[in-house]
């Protein structure tokens, strides 16, 4: 068994991905291929991966999928002998795509719904870092109607308008002691609706290699009049804020991808993503009442970061396709800025999956992604929280597609 495992790991490139609160689970085929897919016209998920490739899809189709994300983080305060873990909490990023229009035509239409940013980090209510965060639920669902035009037989361009539906629920303890000796708590909850875009170009070269370049714009999620719910001692109730405003940049991503086709049955995809994280300078909360709780500006100072992805697909039989991939994502979080809601570090991703053609029209795709986030010992410059984080994530996924 060990031998099989080893040979599997060595022989087959695997893949997956993610950075900070960016989620890269937009298509099961691509997830199984290390998250690569910018330079290939694999399926309807091209609406996300490269709108320019949509017009090259040989069939129309609709697909829906889900990737339940299980993430486990260990934390040990420096000097302590106690290791704490986040709670088991499964995040469920969903994805759905449809592509219409006659495959014979140059112009095709698509629509995509996907979750490019999110997180569900829940620590115990009395953990060491409770005054920094006890839980964060973050989700940005993008809805993207798309046009894709084949300019020539070998060049396609495409673009889509993105409507983002954002949701945030951040909780933490507040260092004000209640009469029962426990800490006060704060819950910040809000919604944001914002616009952005996604555009790409796809080229099939004479050498047989396909090339894709895409750019997904930044969307700044603006929470206006979010609910600030402070559970504090009665003597301080009147001095507490009830509303807040905040902004969170969901960064732009520029990608370049290549597709290689060593045989009729084999596709190799290689992607490089450049995520423009440098716009995430600070996380600021502007409260409606500052009598006791000042507005906060927490420095983040992220820097741009790249991810490298390689994936392979082999149409092993008429019905079965096997996929695997590997990726490496650099962290955008600099020294001193690691926070427990997103304990980020450089990470290695390994993925595998398979596609099963139940009939000419109906397909099932499965993927499994393992993310190994490097251990990181940090002292946060804002909160003073000092210790070591180590994270691993396990993400199975499934999607169903129907083609015509």
């Amino acid at each position: 068994m060990k031998k099989i495992l080893l040979s599997f790991l060595l022989a087959v490139p695997i893949l997956g991905y993610s950075q900070s609160f960016q989620v890269n689970l937009q298509g099961q085929k691509q997830t199984a291929m290390g998250g690569a897919g910018t330079g290939v016209a694999l399926d309807e998920a091209a609406v996300f991966f490269n709108p320019g490739a949509v017009s090259f899809l040989k069939k129309n189709g609709v697909q829906a999928g889900i990737s339940p994300l299980y993430l486990k983080t260990a934390f040990r305060e420096n000097g302590s002998n106690i290791t704490e873990y986040n709670k088991d909490k499964i995040a469920t990023p969903v994805m759905g795509y449809a592509v219409f229009g006659s495959p014979a035509n140059r112009l095709r239409f698509g629509i995509g719904i996907y979750t490019p940013f999110g997180g569900a980090m829940h620590w115990k209510e009395d953990w060491t870092g409770k005054y920094t965060v006890t839980s964060l639920d973050l989700q940005a669902i993008y809805i993207q109607p798309t046009l894709s035009l084949k300019i020539t037989d070998n060049i396609g361009i495409g673009g889509g308008l993105v409507y983002s539906l954002g949701k945030v629920d951040l909780r933490r303890a507040v260092p004000i002691t209640k009469p029962n000796g426990e800490a006060s708590t704060a819950k910040l909850k809000g919604d944001a609706k914002d616009f952005g875009w996604n555009a790409g170009i796809y080229v099939q070269t004479v050498s047989g290699v396909s090339i894709g370049v895409t750019h997904r714009s930044q969307i700044t999620a603006k929470v206006k009049n979010g609910d600030a719910i402070f559970d504090v001692p009665d003597a301080l109730k009147a001095t507490m804020p009830t509303k807040f405003n905040a902004e969170l940049p969901l960064p732009a991503t520029t990608s370049i991808g290549l597709g290689f086709y060593p045989s009729d049955k084999t596709t190799i995809a290689v992607d490089v993503n450049w995520v423009h994280w440098n716009k995430y300078k600070e996380l600021a909360f502007d409260y409606d009442n500052n009598a006791r709780i000042p507005d906060t500006k927490s420095p983040r100072n992220y820097h741009d970061a790249a991810a490298f992805r390689v994936g392979i697909q082999n149409q092993t039989t008429n019905r079965l396709a096997l996929r695997a991939g590997i990726a490496y994502a650099m962290t955008p979080v600099g020294k001193g800025y690691v926070t427990p809601e997103v304990p980020d570090a450089d990470r290695l991703l390994l993925s595998a999956g398979l596609g099963f053609k139940a009939s000419e029209r109906f397909l099932i795709d499965l993927s499994f992604l393992y993310e190994n986030v490097k251990a990181r010992n940090e002292t946060n410059i804002e909160t003073g929280l000092s210790g070591e984080f180590k994270t691993a994530a396990y993400i199975p996924g499934i999607s169903f597609s129907y083609k015509w």
Binding site: F8, A74, I82, A173, T177, Y370, L385, K390, A392, Y394
Partner: protein, 429 residues
């Protein structure tokens, strides 16, 4: 066959994944180093006893820094640790302060909590407390000065010490230093000396019976104490004394805050008058300190003898409310001298040293601890209790960690630190 191989491989990955579901951090090795923590004793004053909110009471005792250290020592061979707890039915102990709320001006309303006292009939003018019998590791006695540790009759003068002794006042003759060293121990902490200057400072220098212990006396006694504590080869840790002028007790009421209050109703007032320790009546300056009890005394501006109190040179704020510039200089001078003694004795005896003076200056100036902003601000600063001098459980936990770090550094041990966020600051109603 080929697909069978691949299915097996996927299965293998899944098994591997599940087996390593919980990410593991590198193992840490715990060691006692060159020290032996099997019987740790804590020698000291109110800070060591867990005194807070102007009293010694059960909750404070349960959050004493020696208790926290002893609990952590258990990971490296530490033995049991007994604190002379008050009974649950006498949990208010000597009585203590509680925060009741804030008045319209935002001033804290602080009241005494004395429902379940542990008080015995007095002996002379000395308040006595219910006797404690049983094992003792925390020997902290509120109020004790270094000056007192060799005084045979001290057990008749301090109810907190009398409580620990088998005999009743006024018949006690055991000096404190003899009492704490009577039973063998392997490790000690000694944090003494604070009260040798605190009493002088907190009474505004106005109490003739509470003057600073002479520096030479302090040095002699400290050396003697260290000799005696280490006579049985025990290892230990000592601590310097914090800067009392950096506590909320001396920084909550200021010239500026008094002027602001007065000017709210009398805008023409521009000076506040004080009587100095030398008996001079003069305008207060920013270099003079006012004591915390003045905050709720309600005396400023109230006419006595027809003259508004504190607003005229003929009716200045009394010396007991004020630590004037010259008195403050005396406090600073003695504190520095005492601390120099403590540091040199620690070095000479090879003891671990906690620089509590530097520690509380650092945290008092404002510091973020695991997401908690702590400072020397009264009530909101999280580390000083309602009396403005003693610490909150959170404050004591920060002190405990500093002791642990010093011990570990000196003796190569790895006593784990406590989680500061498990301890409270000032309780709000």
């Amino acid at each position: 066959m080929k697909s069978n191989f691949i299915y097996k491989s996927i299965f293998a990955v899944a098994i591997l994944g599940m087996a390593s579901c919980k990410p593991e951090l590198k193992d840490i090795t715990l060691t006692k180093g060159s020290a032996d923590f099997s019987r740790y004793i804590a020698v000291g004053n109110s800070l060591t006893s867990g005194y807070a909110d102007n009293g010694l009471f059960l909750e404070g005792q349960k959050n004493s820094y020696p208790g926290m250290i002893a609990e952590q020592m258990k990971a490296v061979g530490g033995g049991s640790f007994s604190t002379p707890f008050f009974k649950d039915t006498e949990a208010d102990g000597s009585g203590h302060l509680v925060l009741k709320g804030f008045d319209a001006k935002g001033l804290p309303q602080i009241a005494a909590q004395a429902d379940h006292l542990a008080v015995r009939p007095e002996s002379g003018a000395v308040t006595l407390f219910t006797k404690y019998t049983g094992d003792l590791n925390n020997y902290g006695v509120p109020g004790i000065k270094l000056l007192h540790i060799t005084v045979p009759q001290y057990g008749n003068l301090n109810g907190f010490y009398e409580r620990l002794l088998p005999g009743n006042a006024p018949g006690n003759t055991t000096p404190y230093l003899d009492f704490v060293t009577a039973k063998p121990y392997t490790f000690f902490s000694m944090w003494l000396g604070n009260n040798d200057i605190l009493g002088y400072a907190s009474s505004g220098g106005a109490n003739p019976a509470d003057q600073p212990t002479p520096k030479a006396t302090f040095t002699a006694l400290y050396n003697m104490a260290a000799d005696k504590m280490t006579a049985n080869q025990a290892k230990g840790v000592v601590a310097t004394i914090p800067d009392v002028l950096g506590t909320p007790y001396f920084n909550t009421v200021t010239l500026a805050s008094i002027l602001a209050t007065v000017q709210a109703t009398a805008p023409t007032v521009t000076a506040i008058y004080i009587r100095t320790g030398a008996g001079v009546s003069r305008a207060a300056t920013a270099q003079d300190y006012f004591v915390l009890p003045l905050l709720s005394a309600g005396v400023i501006g109230v006419p006595t003898g027809g003259i508004p109190y504190g607003l005229h040179p003929l009716n200045p704020i009394e010396s007991r409310w004020v630590l004037d510039k010259d008195e403050a200089a005396i406090v600073a001078d003695y504190t520095t001298a005492y601390n120099n003694t403590i540091k040199s004795v620690a070095a000479a005896k090879g003891l671990a040293l906690v620089d509590a003076y530097a520690l509380l200056k650092d945290y008092g100036a404002g510091k973020d601890v695991n997401g908690v902003r702590v400072s020397a601000a009264f009530i909101t600063g999280n580390i000083f209790s309602l009396d403005g001098i003693h610490l909150t459980p959170m404050g004591y936990s920060i002190v405990a960690n500093e002791f642990i770090k010093s011990i570990n550094a000196k003796y190569g041990s790895s006593i784990p630190i406590v989680d500061v966020t498990k301890y409270r600051g000032v309780k709000f109603p």
